[in-house]
Symmetry: C2
Subunit: 562 residues, 2 copies
């Protein structure tokens, strides 16, 4: 079996059905292998950054699987590197395969195109290492299978990107497929049993003392390290109140009756804030305490009342327990928390229903405050909602989601334009998983970075709804600085013509709309054909330049950086 | 004077009038300084890769100056890195300024957005180092001016990219402007005088022995190291026959009577090939011997008859002379070669006029062979012609250029999509330098990578002619592998609608055309309004999927990589 085919088998085993990327002469040979491989489809992208974003979006929706992106040597892989770094930051398992010169070329070092002209053939791999959990250059066919297994195991177990440089000739060298008979590990190493017992005992003691006033705060680690089922069983069994961080939004269904909404520090609605910060015990799961995930560092959780469960460690008040991870810990805690008396105590603590009613506004302007509430009515169970860094991400955080609706955004990395590529990947994954509609919210500034990938969605027969919030430039940045500076202006595009340009030449395969008043958007959102998402749709929403969602307006959500 | 303003003064001194980039919250403060600075205009781009490409294109046209690009921390700078690496490979002086966390943030290391979440604040600078000749993080206001001077001097003297990380607060710290009274060095270090004398003596001896049969082969180093005037004086004084490599195309006017065309090894037209390879003495200036600059390593120059002059070294037959660079060497050689008898000898060796007549074809299909010949008739003196890696770059190489027309392409780096960004930069530079029209040739696959930057050209009032060769995908790659594989297909866009989508909503500021026959394109190219380039124009040229220019067809131009 060719090394390239071995790699494809392993990717398929991990759940990969779509392989994103851009062809280049250092990966064309491997592309033939992909094209001939039945279990995985090639999804050619318009450029490599978008391809990396797509693999990232795909991996986020296919929890427990990975995303895969193929680029060519130098020019391709470097274009993707921001997307890979973003996956690293946001704990997303992406396998980056880059075409690499043949063994003979590596030895002779001819002055090839796509090199720097100085013989430093490994320089891109050096750059890749900085943003990969593991990496390998598959120069030795003898160890290629083991190396593939090593980095892919790291990818799925550590939920971080890995890098595989695949020399053009090695892709075709035949190796044994014997290793394939042993599946890759999918579960982390077991916890140290004595340490784990201590942690469980301590937590049970704290739960008992809390007399039911226990708040569980769910964050991104829970979903990225594939512990959502364990978290659900834990909170449902004990009846604890559940809240989420922005990056943890939708990990636990927002329709769950004991779910109380988002905790974003100082910008949290006061009644929610008091419930969380005043709880007798707070169990934080998978926390990532970045600025925009903590209301710009305004979360105030008393360490003396807090338990933190992480992927590979736990913390009880001031004590850290390395090596005691949540995946195995949570089920044991759950088993220990089945007492009816505990549950009646926890259920006696009410969790107010988190709602976001439509504000009464007398004018026809589509305000941020009104829009997000109205969008909340539009969402359906199992929708996949993607929100761009900017007013969109802050706005979507205000919406309570229906059951099973999924939220993805780049709260930590915050690379504008990311959502267009990731919408492609997310929509592919949503189709594979038979989820609902894929809905993107993005501003007129951000979409310009990566707009071409809408074309790939069209080709793949995907039917996302793309809401373009046209507020005349980078409103998120105006909120920070340069409110009227020209550097925050962008060209006003003809959004209504966009899909014609990007491939729907005769206008039969997509629908585009422009709405500028509450009446117009209300009519559109109420329209059954629109709502059914039977074709790809683009909606330009005309909005005021300086209007912003609640969290941005109160001003502590984003820190000024200078 | 603020550190940021000091930097702007130095950039202006180096000839920068346009600063490309994308705003982000780590560079907004510096952007205010740019906005308020009268000598340099901010040109906001749609994304950072395009911005880097624009700075590269700008620097190529403004020989002796530099390009400048501003990005934000992490997400922005990493998106630009492929463009910077390309500038490194192709010897283009680009200053990359990246926003950086404040001094206090660097000390406290909060978990900021745009970080990897692991406190490695310097990791992007580590990546940048790999592709920069020099780099600095301006953390110390005491040395900031000296550091700026150091890296900018390297940029212009070494003609390679440099990287400046500018902390948000340091941009505003006041420093002395005293250093500005001493201009930055613009000339390389002097040659060692005794060594130089030896080299001159040896070369003069070889010239004498050659009895006029001397061929000068001009390559990219001549223009990038700012020695074009010295090369011109040298060849004109002595009357030597002049040829160019692909990367050296147009460095010497292709209308010059002693210019004989391009040397591309085995794919060179036989009559030219014989003249060059058979010359008694070959003087190679600024050579860069990459695969696609040498007909895939098929150039056959007898070392025993060759002199190589480089930026910082010379080579005579088998002897190398480090530290003896062409900038000072050439004028001294020129002074020594003024004898009338030498000139009459050299002029007795005829240089056949390089022409590319229109082939007679009986059908209406726009073939590659016919197209480039017809384009040759369309070009005017001082046009700036940009050709994308692919059939465009190979095709344009077949066209003899009129006087003063300039060719730019990415023959070594070969990052597809590069030309769109670089056309923006080149057109800005061409307007500053009052050159002619800016004309881009690109394929329907390549333009999809970076298409949004056409929007920026529109906003800036530039009037490029953009020829989109619609040959249904990546034809250059089909020539290598996967002729009918689906990974070489791309979506067929509605090119005629493109500029409406990208900002010319009412269609009054641009013109778009689609031509599919020889008659149609001939009529368009003959039309005075079109030819006058009074507005931005986009022309879709319908072509056959597998048709390719001569060099690609003969098959040695591109090596198979696997």
């Amino acid at each position: 079996m060719e090394v390239g085919v071995y790699l494809l088998h392993r990717l398929e085993e991990l759940g990969v059905r779509s392989f994103f990327g851009v062809p280049g002469d250092f990966n064309l040979g491997f592309l033939d292998l992909i094209d001939d491989y039945t279990g995985i489809d090639w999804v050619g992208n318009c450029n490599e950054l978008n391809a990396a974003y797509a693999a990232d979006g795909y991996a986020r929706i296919k929890t427990g699987s990975v995303g895969a992106v193929l680029t060519t040597y130098g020019v391709g892989e470097l274009s993707a590197i921001n997307g890979i770094a973003g996956a690293y930051a946001e704990i997303v398992p992406v396998v980056h395969v880059a075409g690499f010169p043949s063994l003979k070329e590596q030895e002779d070092k001819p002055l090839l195109h796509h090199t720097l002209g100085n013989g430093r053939y490994n320089v891109y791999a050096q750059a890749a290492e900085l943003f990969a959990y593991s990496h390998t250059i598959l120069n030795d066919p003898q160890t290629a299978a083991a190396e593939i297994d090593r980095v892919l195991s790291d990818c799925i177990l550590q939920s971080r990107p890995v890098y595989i440089a695949l020399p053009t000739d090695v892709a075709y060298i035949k190796i044994s497929h014997e290793r394939l008979s042993v599946p890759l590990p999918r579960l982390p190493a077991q916890n140290h049993s004595l340490g784990e017992a201590v942690v469980i005992e301590e937590i049970l003691k704290l739960v008992e003392q809390a007399q039911g006033d226990v708040v569980v705060l769910v964050d991104v680690g829970a979903v990225r390290y594939n512990a959502v089922e364990e978290v659900k069983a834990f909170v449902e069994t004990a009846g604890f109140a559940v809240y989420a961080s922005p990056m943890g939004k939708s990990v636990i269904s927002e329709a769950y009756e004991r779910y109380g909404g988002l905790y974003t520090g100082a910008t949290t609605r006061p009644e929610i804030k008091a419930k969380i910060e005043g709880a007798k015990l707070l169990i934080s799961i998978g926390a990532l305490k970045s600025d925009l995930n903590t209301g710009n560092f305004t979360t105030r959780l008393d360490v003396a009342r807090t338990v933190e469960l992480h992927h590979a460690s736990s913390k009880i008040k001031f004590s850290e327990y390395p090596g005691i991870g949540m995946k195995y810990l949570l089920p044991k805690l759950t088993s220990a928390l089945t007492s009816a008396s505990l549950k009646s105590l926890t259920l006696s603590i009410p969790v107010p229903k988190w709602t976001h009613p439509l504000p009464q506004e007398s004018d026809e302007i589509i305000s941020q405050a009104w829009l997000w509430a109205r969008i909340g009515q539009f969402l359906q169970p199992k929708d996949v909602v993607i929100a761009e860094t900017g007013t969109s991400a802050f706005g979507v955080l205000d919406i309570p989601f229906p059951d099973g609706a999924v939220f993805i955004s780049q709260i930590l990395w915050g690379s504008i334009g990311w959502t267009v590529g990731s919408t492609l990947g997310a929509a592919m994954a949503a189709r594979e998983k038979r989820l609902g509609r894929t809905i993107l919210f993005i501003g007129d500034g951000s979409i310009q970075l990566t707009v071409q990938e809408l074309s790939t969605m069209l080709r793949e027969g995907l039917k996302p709804i793309v809401f373009v919030l046209n507020n005349s430039g980078y409103t998120i940045e105006r909120a920070i600085r340069g409110e009227h500076r020209k550097y925050n202006d962008v060209v006003n595009w003809g959004w209504i013509h966009l899909m014609k340009a990007l491939g729907d030449v005769d206008g039969t395969r997509t629908r585009s709309y422009a709405v500028n008043t509450k009446v117009e958007i209300d009519a559109l959102l109420s329209d059954g054909a629109f709502s059914s998402a039977d074709v790809m749709q683009v909606v330009e929403i005309g909005m005021k330049m300086l209007d912003a969602p609640y969290a941005l307006k109160v001003g502590t959500a984003v820190g000024s950086q200078w």
